[in-house]
């Protein structure tokens, strides 16, 4: 399928995000065996070492468990871990841009609060 890599984020981090997506949508559930490094490398047409870097990150953040010689597995707490990491990313990267745009465009925060509450 290939991946439409954008230029603002590194490829290995985009692969991490893709895995996050699989976990958040429950496509990959706790205890599931993750696709192998090679499978993802072929799917995204990237160097296996790049996928390995993503998997190292996922392992260090306790989203993946590496069973030697068998493969990577989704941990029991993967969903919570992913949410925590995504929330941190959201607060540190996405919210500041959002706030900047609010100020730039003169949007009243109450308008946003109304939107959130009516949802």
């Amino acid at each position: 399928m290939g991946m439409d890599f954008n230029n603002t984020q590194t490829i290995w981090m985009q692969i991490v995000d893709w895995v996050f997506e699989q976990i958040l949508t429950a496509a990959w559930k706790p205890g599931d065996k993750a696709k192998s490094v090679r499978e993802l490398a072929v799917m995204f047409e990237v160097n296996p070492n790049t996928v390995m870097r993503s998997y190292d990150y996922l392992q260090n953040n306790e989203i993946f468990l590496n069973k030697r010689g068998i493969g990577f597995f989704v941990t029991e707490n993967a969903m919570e871990k992913v949410k925590l990491l995504r929330k941190k990313q959201f607060m540190e990267e996405e919210v500041p841009v959002f706030i900047k745009n609010l100020k730039l465009l003169g949007v009243d925060i109450q308008e946003i609060v109304k939107l959130v509450n009516s949802d």
Binding site: R38, A41, V42, E45, V46
Partner: protein, 278 residues
């Protein structure tokens, strides 16, 4: 796996191509060999594989002197040249004639790779195929040899758009810890996601030989309206979205390696870039 030490070489004595060229390449990586036209990329690949003998210095491959062209080395080395050698043979005859040189050749894999490229063994005479189809047959063959060292000179030249994607998939699946892949190319956009080691040849020596991780640790590929303002700027390229920049990565920001920008930066700030990676 490949060691070049103080290589000297010239086609014409008065104009040496390589003066004191040294380069080490290890298995487990896909190297992108970059350099301007006439920099000597193809010659360098020929020296590594024993097709050209250096005037001075030593070229070692798999622990052996490349110039000795030992059988144990040659059966574990495949060099897909840009100017392809295509005999008047059908694909199955070609396989029968050339596969025996490679003990790890897999006939099943060859069939599978041909299929991926929408070809098969019954496709007729190889020399009657289009340029792109010849290339596909030889890429499929090269991968099926399962050699420890695989050298490809401009492999994506002449491939149609879907085949470039197929090529990347095949390379991603063929790469492993015991294999050294070297791709010489100008088509960096086709291959940037595959290459994890970058070797830049310029003016007779290696300007750079570093992993993409090391490169993005030391250099930041950025737009001038984003991320960090700090860091010495090595190279700037204008675009409607803002200026692309290559900067010293002082704040340890992770960015995506852009091979074109890297190449242009390395060529325009030779000493500064090469000192950064010493």
């Amino acid at each position: 796996m490949i060691q070049l030490e103080n290589i000297q070489f010239g086609y014409v004595k008065s104009r040496p191509l390589f003066k004191e060229l040294s380069l080490t390449m290890e298995p487990g990586h896909i190297y992108g060999l970059l350099g301007k036209n006439g920099a000597g990329k193809t010659t360098l690949l020929k020296i590594m594989s024993g097709l050209r003998f250096p005037d001075g210095g030593s070229a070692t491959i798999m622990g052996e002197n490349a110039s000795l062209r030992k059988a144990e080395v040659l059966q574990n080395l495949y060099f897909l040249q840009e100017e392809m050698f295509v005999p008047h043979l059908r694909i199955d005859e070609f396989e029968k004639a050339y596969a025996p040189f490679y003990p790890n050749f897999s006939s099943e894999k060859f069939a599978e790779y041909l299929r991926e490229f929408e070809l098969d063994r019954e496709f007729g005479y190889m020399d009657k195929l289009s340029h792109g189809q010849k290339k596909k047959v030889l890429i499929a063959f090269a991968l099926a040899t399962n050699t420890k060292v695989l050298i490809m000179d401009e492999p994506t030249n002449g491939l149609d758009i879907p085949s470039k994607s197929t090529f990347r998939k095949l390379m991603a699946s063929a790469a492993d810890e015991s294999r050294l892949v070297i791709i010489s190319t100008h088509q960096v956009r086709d291959l940037h996601s595959l290459i994890d080691m970058v070797a830049i040849l310029d003016n007779g020596h290696m300007l750079l030989n570093a992993s993409s991780f090391e490169i993005t640790e030391k250099l930041l590929f950025d737009m001038d309206n984003m991320k960090s303002a700090e860091g010495k700027i090595f190279y700037t390229e204008e675009s409607p979205r803002g200026n692309y920049q290559v900067k010293e990565n002082v704040n340890h920001i992770d960015s995506t390696l852009d091979l074109e920008l890297l190449f242009n930066a390395a060529i325009s700030k030779k000493n500064e870039i090469s000192n950064l990676f010493k």
